[in-house]
């Protein structure tokens, strides 16, 4: 399929359209309100379901195939936050630069799901163990960024607490917990829970993106506050990190689909684990910077243009 066709497929997918609908709802001041309980339920569900699918696949993957991609992911989790930090320091103080870097070094689960959904729509196979890589990519970047800030300043927040927060945070807990459940469930167990944790997966994503669209639109109101530099960063950095991710994935011998998804993971910016940790470890950091950049700029960009772009990269390198 030619790039434009892929772009069309992505932009007209139910998930992306739901995201647009959510943005519209906020822009026209609709009385539509997604109950907070639904939002929380969906994020719990999606994280657990990703984990379970990944665990199920992991159980059928020989370790020999894993260490390559795992190393590539670890490399990304070290390089990307440092890269972001270096760039951001040109404009921001240590604290804010580190806070934003933590978000861009980590990963957004929903962007990951959207990428896999897109690969499925483009009928491009993807390694099943990817969710395990999501878990690997999520944590280290945040810790590194916090350490940078700590070195740079005294910092009032507690680092230890923040690290505990990350590992005990719902994001990692559900992801890893799901992997364990999926890995041990076995065929029988999976069959029992598939109607909840496998089949409705992509449909649930649509509802979740409806809500994310509303939140992203609220963020957009802050665009003026955050300034041109951060906007440019939020658009350019994903492309750089995405290319890097695709490249490392290909080096690690992943399929075109796998490299594309790894690239998208690298390009994505966390908005569950990172904000929670940063708020505790770096309370002085300004939330409107990191939330607006990750949710208002980078997330929509990846969801709409980024995903087809990273697929394009992957095919260039992997020759799919």
């Amino acid at each position: 399929m030619d790039p434009l066709e892929l772009l069309r497929i992505n932009l007209l997918s139910p998930a992306v359209l739901a995201f647009a609908l959510g943005m519209l709802a906020t822009l026209v001041k609709s009385d539509l309100k997604i109950p907070e309980a639904l939002y929380t339920t969906l994020s719990i569900y999606l994280l657990l379901a990703i984990g379970i699918k990944g665990g199920d696949a992991l159980a059928q993957t020989p370790l020999s195939q894993l260490w390559g991609p795992a190393l590539a992911t670890l490399a990304l989790s070290v390089v990307t936050p440092l890269l972001s930090y270096a760039v951001l320091r040109r404009r921001f103080g240590v604290i804010d630069a580190a806070a934003i870097a933590a978000h861009y070094g980590s990963v957004s689960a929903v962007t990951f799901i959207a990428a896999t959904a897109f690969m499925q729509a483009a009928s491009q196979p993807v390694e099943g163990y990817m969710p395990a890589l999501v878990a690997i990519l999520e944590v280290p970047a945040i810790v590194i960024a916090l350490l940078i800030a700590r070195r740079g300043t005294g910092g009032t927040g507690s680092l230890g607490e923040a690290v505990r927060e990350i590992f005990a945070g719902k994001s990692i807990l559900l992801l890893v917990g799901g992997v364990v459940i999926g890995a041990l469930a076995g065929e029988g167990g999976m069959r029992q829970i598939a109607p909840v944790f496998i089949d409705p997966f992509r449909g649930a994503l649509v509802l979740f993106l409806l809500e994310l669209g509303m939140v992203a639109a609220k963020r957009l109101r802050d665009l003026r506050k955050v300034g041109a530099f951060l906007i440019a960063f939020g658009l350019a950095m994903p492309i750089v990190q995405g290319a890097l991710g695709v490249w490392l994935g290909t080096l690690a011998g992943m399929s075109v689909g796998g490299a594309m998804v790894l690239g998208t993971m690298a390009a994505s910016a966390s908005y569950i684990a990172a904000p929670a940790a940063v708020r505790i470890a770096l309370p002085e950091a300004n939330p409107s910077y990191y939330l607006t950049a990750s949710l208002g700029i980078t997330f929509p960009f990846n969801l709409t243009l980024g995903i087809p772009l990273y697929f394009y990269f992957a095919r260039l390198l992997g020759g799919g």
């Binding site: 907070e36 929380t40 009032t156 939140v215 609220k218 802050d222 908005y271 569950i272 904000p275 929670a276 940063v278 708020r279 505790i280 309370p283 002085e284 939330p287 409107s288 939330l291 607006t292």
Partner: protein, 100 residues
């Protein structure tokens, strides 16, 4: 019936501070507390709490001394970096001993 006059401390803060603040007030002498979910806006505008389910409204009925301590502690540690406000009222309760 004997009504005793005590202080009601109301703290409005970002949701993720809930456990922290509860520990604080207990440590400073509150015998109990009540939390209600809340949302709002103030001078600080955007807040991570938008992500963690809005604000909380934390009430404790305490002796004037404890109330003083709590507000002091908040002013020192929280007001600068977190979206937190607090206010005091005088209330009348039955079973005053229960709170002190």
């Amino acid at each position: 019936m004997a009504l005793v006059s005590l202080k009601l401390v109301t703290i409005i803060a970002e949701g993720f501070l809930e456990d922290k603040l509860i520990r604080e007030v207990r440590r400073l002498g509150a015998k109990g507390y009540t939390v209600t979910p809340a949302r709002g806006e103030g001078s600080r505008g955007v807040r991570a709490s938008e992500w963690e389910g809005g604000n909380i409204r934390l009430e404790c009925i305490v002796s004037p001394e404890v109330a003083e301590k709590i507000v002091k502690r908040l002013a020192e540690v929280y007001f600068t970096n977190f979206a937190v406000i607090a206010y005091l009222e005088s209330v009348e309760v039955v079973r005053g001993d229960k709170y002190t």
